[in-house]
């Protein structure tokens, strides 16, 4: 723990600014479309910044740098997958889904397949996904605050939950869009500015203790370093090291000098204190790349690791399109062409952001190697500034990164809360503005309670599995729904249940077992490679079994989705759903009177 009041100030400032911008942006939010899709008025660049702001969660801000820091080039897979997911979304889903006029995946499911049961199932999955993704955000906030100030971890999570709820209740989507866009730039600045400065410091620093990143040797401690092991770790010793230790190592009590031979693995218990002399090689947790040369090479773990990477690829590529808070953003564009432009901007913004993460990762390898021992790689971004510049300026930079991290928690959780609340308010409640506010409070209460009850859920794993769940449920529904005519409600339901079931099952397995090696385990820990194709297969197979329940209006629905924009359909749906509050009266009288046809008003006919 590093006491840093600057950081506390930075965090408070980030939260205050968030509420301020939210109040400013939300003061004109009055109608339900304002709350849910900002009345489709957001320009591409603002929307792209908002999407990027929302997308760059704690997992991106802290996690990517942390992963690359420990795993090296192998960790590149996460950012590559995150960016690639957007491409899939753009190519297959974005435009047709927009034209379908559905606001959410449940909307889409009902409009395309006309099944209320399927709609309910989708609603449940959206809520589950949202909560699954929210819990690690709240936990990350708690850990960040605890790193700097020593307050108990639950406090940070609670602070974020409350800030988000206030903002969303106050202004809904319109406020949130502005907040998200603002937070993207805050995050970018909070990462880019320190990255430039610290890189400059590094170029002027030629002390011999810092080993080149290309040597086949582990990193070394620059100065005498004392490490308090807070959670039990297994360390791989890739170069022999002498140290002093007090506590329990390999099950035996130790107090005094110790020598760890090359190639051994040491189990260090919780509460042990390790003191390494200056220049000592750094032992690292067994999941990290031990020496610098292999750190620079993209993976070398043979089949199990290749399977894991492919699985991860499946999850990130196909999962992005299923994330409720990402999808709903595409509805806030005025038309399909600007939705495309938005995606392009998003890729620039997200990709640019990750470049700075890489700088942080490399420098952390040199300056905060002690994190390799404790395995707290997510703290690398937060601790690097003070490790490199031990003065007020370093603390200021640390405050900046802390503020950025908080912006990450705030923006991602805002987007998720809006999506979950949107689905709850229109599907479970009557869908008035008051219901949206009520749903918001509910949507953020459940995950914060979970975060407080289970403080030790692995954050990175939780996000990975949430993506995997999205990839195994909504991705097949969207892709087949848009491109496969003979999809039936029964088939879709079975696909979602199969894919979701596999992911939930393997999550339960991971939580209940302890073994972590072999390809079976790496496949279970990262089930995307199995669950995504299975879900597709199940949808296809069970649709084949029930050819008679192919919706009768399928030709028309498909045409609408693949036909040009603005065939009047989008407006029809707005009117049907929200009444005439957002449309000029003359328009409404024309559209609602006699000519509404097809699936837009199917629900009314029933």
């Amino acid at each position: 723990m590093v006491q840093n009041n600057w950081a506390l100030g930075g965090v408070i400032l980030a939260m205050a600014l968030t509420i301020g911008v939210g109040v400013y942006g939300g003061r004109r939010s009055k109608t339900t479309p304002d709350f849910l899709v900002a009345s489709r008025t957001i320009k591409p660049h603002a929307n792209a910044a908002a999407i990027a702001g929302e997308y760059l969660s704690a997992a991106s801000f802290l996690g990517v740098a942390g992963l690359v820091f420990t795993k090296g080039a192998t960790g590149l897979w996460y950012p590559i997958g995150y960016a690639g997911g957007y491409l899939m979304l753009l190519l297959f889903v974005a435009a047709p889904l927009r034209r379908s006029g559905a606001y959410t995946v449940p909307d889409f499911a009902e409009a395309r397949l006309g099944s209320v049961g399927l709609r309910r199932l989708c609603t449940a999955v959206v809520v589950l996904l949202g909560w699954w993704y929210l819990v690690p955000q709240f936990q990350g906030a708690g850990l960040t605050l605890a790193t700097f100030t020593g307050v108990p971890p639950w406090l940070g999570g609670l602070a974020v939950a409350i800030t988000v709820t206030i903002n969303v209740v106050g202004g809904g989507m319109r406020a949130i869009t502005l907040v998200q866009a603002f937070q993207y730039y805050l995050k970018l600045f909070a990462l880019a500015f320190p990255a430039f400065l610290l890189f400059f410091v590094f170029l002027n620093d030629d002390r011999a203790e810092y080993r080149s990143l290309s040597e086949p040797l582990p990193p070394a401690f620059a100065r005498e370093t004392t490490i308090d092991v807070k959670t039990a770790v297994r360390l791989q010793v890739s170069q022999a090291v002498s140290l002093r230790a007090k506590g329990t190592i390999d099950g035996a009590p130790v107090d005094g000098g110790a020598f760890w031979a090359t190639g051994t693995v040491k189990s260090v218990d919780k509460g042990t204190k390790l003191i390494f002399p200056a220049g000592a090689p750094v032992p690292s947790v067994t999941t990290a790349a031990a020496d610098n040369a292999s750190w620079l090479r993209p993976m070398s773990g043979g089949w199990p690791q290749a399977m894991e990477i492919w699985s991860l690829m499946f999850a990130t590529f196909f999962g992005t399109m299923g994330l409720p808070h990402v999808l709903v953003r595409f509805y806030t564009n005025p038309d399909g062409s600007s939705a495309r432009t938005t995606t392009l901007y998003v890729l620039v913004l997200v990709g640019g952001f990750y470049l700075f993460s890489l700088i942080f990762a490399g420098l952390s390898r040199l300056y905060v190697p002690e994190l390799l021992v404790t395995g707290q790689d997510n703290a690398a971004v937060l601790l690097l500034p003070t490790a490199m510049l031990n003065n007020w300026f370093g603390q200021l930079l640390a405050a900046l990164t802390a503020a950025g991290a908080f912006a990450a928690f705030l923006s991602t959780s805002s987007g998720l809360v809006v999506s979950v609340a949107g689905v709850l308010s229109t599907d479970v409640l009557p869908g008035r503005v008051r219901d949206f506010r009520l749903a918001t409070i509910f949507a953020s209460t459940v995950p914060i309670v979970c975060a407080l009850l289970f403080p030790n859920l692995g954050a990175a794993q939780a996000v990975g599995l949430a993506l995997c769940l999205a990839a195994s449920t909504f991705c097949p529904l969207l892709i087949l729904g848009i491109w496969y005519r003979r999809l039936t409600p029964f088939g879709a339901t079975m696909g979602i249940l199969t894919g979701g079931g596999v992911v939930l099952g393997s999550t339960a397995y991971v939580l209940l077992t302890t073994s972590t090696s072999g390809w079976v385990n790496s496949l279970v820990a990262q089930p995307g490679m199995i669950s995504v194709p299975l879900s597709f297969l199940a949808m296809w197979f069970f649709s084949k079994l029930t050819p008679r329940s192919v919706p009768r209006d399928v030709a028309q629905v498909m045409l609408r989705m693949h036909a040009p924009d603005r065939l009047g359909f989008t407006k029809d749906r707005d009117v049907q759903r929200f009444g005439n509050q957002s449309q000029p009266p003359v328009d409404v009288s024309k559209r609602t009177s006699t000519t509404l046809s097809g699936w837009a008003n199917r629900r009314q006919r029933k």
């Binding site: 080039a73 491409l87 040369a293 620079l296 090479r297 993209p298 993976m299 045409l559 609408r560 009047g568």
Partner: protein, 116 residues
């Protein structure tokens, strides 16, 4: 259909118009143009990602060749994955703006006209 005619803002087109529209060669053309771009491109970029994974696993020597300083081929290829994602997106946006949108616009005008 002359270009000076403004689309009539009636209601949504009725079923018959939809059916004829779907059978029209223009609509088929539109879908074909989209598919001809999207599917090969997907195969291409998934293949490119797979290639990276395979190289990383089975061509250690190649991936470790130094390009500049500490930067090796593996890292360069990794960063190129970002570049390729961006490149494909740019291509798609250009393709859609140039080849898909005008055709779609035509079709839309016709539907709205026939419906009126």
């Amino acid at each position: 259909m002359s270009s000076t005619e403004r689309p009539v803002s009636g209601g949504a087109p009725d079923q018959e118009v939809w059916a004829t529209m779907q059978a029209s060669p223009e609509f088929g053309d539109l879908r074909r143009r989209l598919r001809r771009f999207v599917f090969p491109m997907t195969v291409l970029f998934l293949g490119w990602y797979l290639l990276y994974v395979i190289l990383a696993d089975y061509a250690h020597g190649f991936m470790s060749i130094k390009v500049v300083g500490n930067i090796n081929v593996g890292l360069v290829l990794g960063l190129l994955q970002f570049v390729s994602t961006f490149l494909i997106t740019t291509l798609y946006v250009r393709h859609a703006n140039k080849n898909l949108d005008p055709l779609a616009e035509d079709l839309r005008r016709r539907v709205e006209k026939e419906d009126a």
